[in-house]
């Protein structure tokens, strides 16, 4: 599977928020949490493909 690497810039306070969220059990890692955000944000804000009847 083709994977693309994206390098995000965060400061220590933003990382604290991310790490707190991971520690609370919302995700396994920073990276997983960011991918979850993308998928859920897209589901909420992009038109969803129509399912076959």
């Amino acid at each position: 599977m083709t994977m693309t690497k994206i390098k995000l810039r965060f400061n220590q306070q933003q990382l604290e928020l991310i790490d707190n969220t991971v520690r609370s059990g919302e995700s396994n890692s920073r990276e997983d949490l960011i991918r979850r955000a993308l998928r859920e944000f897209a589901k909420a804000n992009l038109p969803q493909p129509e399912k076959d009847q």
């Binding site: 994206i6 995000l8 960011i34 991918r35 998928r39 859920e40 897209a42 804000n45």
Partner: protein, 310 residues
Amino acid sequence: MTSSDRKLLYELVIQPGTGKALEMRRGQVLRISQTSGRQCADFNCFNLHDYKEFFHTGRTRHLHGLHPTTGDFLWSAPPRERPMMAIIEDTVGTNDVLYPRCSAFLFEYQYGLPVHTNCHDIQAEAQREYGLTPDDVHDSFNFFMHTGVGQDGHPFIAKNTAGPGDYVELLALIDVLAVPNVCGADVMMTSDFELKPLKLSLYEGTEADWARVTEPPKMRSQRNPLNYKVKNIKSDRELYKDATYTPDFTNVPIEIADVEVELSAEEMGLLSEFSKTGKYGDTDADVLRYVFFTWWIDEFMRGPKHVPKA
């Protein structure tokens, strides 16, 4: 809650052009009532034991919107940032924390009236009874002031809808100096171009009053003078440099780190959908960070979100 269920401690009708500073202990209730109706009441309040803690329109507006009403708090300014009073009843629902107090300057500049009743000077005169100066008057909570914001982003004042006998009730959550005044604006829409008296009733609060208040947040960041590096209030007006000062800002230096995220082709497809709108940032990394925090705010943040819909 009917007033007959409570013990009345004090009652006063304040006349047009006047206000009154009232000492309130925690648990007491102030009712501000209309007499003939359609009258705006401006309001200041201070911590009775430390006047440097006072009501802050900004934080109140941030947390409760432009028109706070029953169930909302009157917050003090940062870094104290705690509820000073709770609105436990509001029979009208047209309060305002957007407009500043009217002032002598405003009437002179806009109307050519250099000597005119105005909320700043009325507040200052009422607060003088407790040794406060005109510089201590702060932006007011405007009860019964019917306002809005137009499509062009400019605020407006609408017709006052408060009728005779309408009232708001405030429960003191700490000991306060509460200072209501009859708004002095008689050449604006604020009070329908006529100044009318307001009735003030101070009651001993009851358990039923406390039952109407939700538990406010208590955070470590709500500080008081014991936490301040400078603990004493300046007693002179001149500003001069402290030669011993060494900067000690929070979390400084701000340090940047990279987090590398691998995205599948499907995830890249989603990201590119956001990128091509041009609304979220210039690079894929900027867009993904925007998406992440916007999602996080929606998912986890407490209180009002303050973000536009995607």
